[in-house]
Symmetry: C2
Subunit: 327 residues, 2 copies
């Protein structure tokens, strides 16, 4: 299998380049796949961190892309991709455009990353707007469910929700190898009269346009319905995804007086651990762009890298041969 080439935005995230680079090194130990990491950030800083422990023979698994600029808090998030072209977050996307890497991972700002992905790589034909998609575990099933949008589009028109259904289906089809993924629309009830006008209109359109559409599901069915893809606006999806992250901590706090029980339970609950999936892909972009949590630990970054490798190997977001192979 070909070497997977990944751009890593080492300046992003709350804990600095040390944590991000540690995550990449960790992923390299864990995966049987061959990959090369293009570390985007300050060259001197990266070299200091990277070459401390790295054996000489592993050095060719890394390329350092020096980035001289930084995103500032006052930068407009929609135009940062142009104004801060030499920042690490924008450079990691630019490497994809140039065909130098197959995918990129960043723990940077969602809106800036989306803007860069959209304007530099372009929107997939047929996608109304790109969406962020995340997997959640399911009751009694090994197969997870894909929830989208989880934060790229806070207010959605019916056409966008329909487009999310299509994008999600394509991703699950390739990433999870499900032939015809079933799609459901998140709502506050199952009856046709329930929900907002946007939800009602999206329901009508999904019935027409989606091959395997199951109709409405409620918040308690996300983890238990037959759906492989659950569609919602980015506000609801973001809140729901983060709530699932908190369950893991909530379980921990409820069992804190019984450490033995807690250790036992945690081994069953790993699938709920927010660090276990590491990063979520933008769907609807002509490229494989993964967004990691701002507060990612090195373990979360390691899992983000593993997710990116799988996404590339399965052509889950965007076929790797669709761009010129770079230098």
């Amino acid at each position: 299998m070909n070497t997977v080439r990944l751009a890593i935005d080492v300046e992003s995230g709350d804990f600095g380049p040390g944590v991000i680079i540690a995550g990449v090194l960790d992923a390299m130990k864990k995966t049987p796949s061959s990959f090369k990491a293009y570390l985007c950030g300050d060259r001197v800083q990266i070299e200091q961190i990277l070459y401390k422990d790295l054996v000489q023979s592993d050095r060719d698994k890394f390329e350092i892309i020096h980035c001289s600029d930084k995103i500032l808090p006052d930068d407009k998030r929609t135009s940062a991709w142009k104004k801060r072209a030499d920042s690490s977050i924008i450079q990691s996307i630019r490497l994809q455009e140039q065909g130098i890497v197959d995918a990129s991972v960043s723990a940077g700002d969602t809106a800036i990353l989306l803007g860069a992905a959209l304007f530099i790589l372009g929107r997939l034909d047929g996608a109304v707007r790109p969406a962020l998609a995340a997997f959640l575990p399911k009751i009694h099933q090994k197969k997870p469910v894909l929830l989208l949008d989880v934060g790229a589009n806070l207010d959605c028109r019916p056409e966008q929700l329909v487009s999310f259904g299509v994008l999600g289906s394509c991703y699950v089809n390739r990433y999870c190898e499900v032939e015809t993924p079933a799609v459901a629309l998140l709502n506050v009830g199952k009856e046709p009269s329930k929900g907002t006008r946007v939800i009602g209109d999206a329901d009508v359109l999904l019935k027409k346009k989606c091959r395997n559409y199951l109709g409405f599901i409620e918040g308690n069915e996300v983890v238990s319905s037959d759906a492989d893809v659950v569609v919602c606006d980015g506000f609801t999806g973001n809140v729901l995804l983060k709530a699932f992250e908190s369950f893991y901590r909530l379980a921990g706090s409820m069992l804190e007086n019984d450490q033995k029980l807690l250790t036992k339970v945690k081994s069953h609950f790993t699938v709920l651990d927010p660090e276990s999936y590491g990063a979520v892909p933008f769907l609807g972009i002509k490229g494989t762009v993964l967004k990691a949590h701002g507060g990612s630990s090195s373990r979360a970054i390691a899992n983000a890298v593993l997710t990116a490798i799988t996404a590339v190997q399965r052509n889950a977001v965007w076929p790797t041969n669709a761009r010129p192979k770079g230098c």
Copy 2:
């Protein structure tokens, strides 16, 4: 302490009058408080269920309010309160208006119940729209957090969100005896630039109008922030509340191969059990109206009755002496 008088809509819910009445009888065994239940529904059916096991001396704890009409699936939910005046759901509200009961519990349709409460009992001065409010557990704390709206208002204007903050504060102040409850606004991030325009405008208004406003919190902080009240639109709140319900089942499914462990864990997780809170109150109504889940078991109904008793005793939603005492 005075006897609490409760109207119970026995025709509501998915499992029929038998389950609802069993729940009321169960609550009567569990509570040290004295209460009288006004069972609204078909007299013959209620008598058959109720008098089967009831000892003669307990009969005066019940009053049967015969209701000859029923809500039909095609009834308009906004006008059902007028058209189906003799249905059990509407009668249970009417008994409050007449001062015959202090509160009512129904597992019926949210929109019909809200319409009846709003048009028959009236809106509280200052409340833009009534909201449904539910408690969620918190990490490392005995005190829960109140989430609202959880389904009465799917699309919200900024003024509504602000009003929810005020209504929620008043309820937590009385029900949980917290002097100045802290209020937070649910959003997709903490920075001022995050969120929709409605969220941004509500944030500005809450800063002005709410004494103890903490600002934005994200989905993973609902169970861990310092907030006593978390404000959101009814669509997001409904999805979030139901997702919390599913966590209990998800935990169960993950541990199903280790029944001993599951039993141990469940005893810690009871606070997450959706049946444990039973029902949620409408806030912003001149009366204490509790909405139970359509799929309520008798245990859930018992807990709904206990919640209603506490709400009445603490004047948490609406002071009991504000209406004429009935027959």
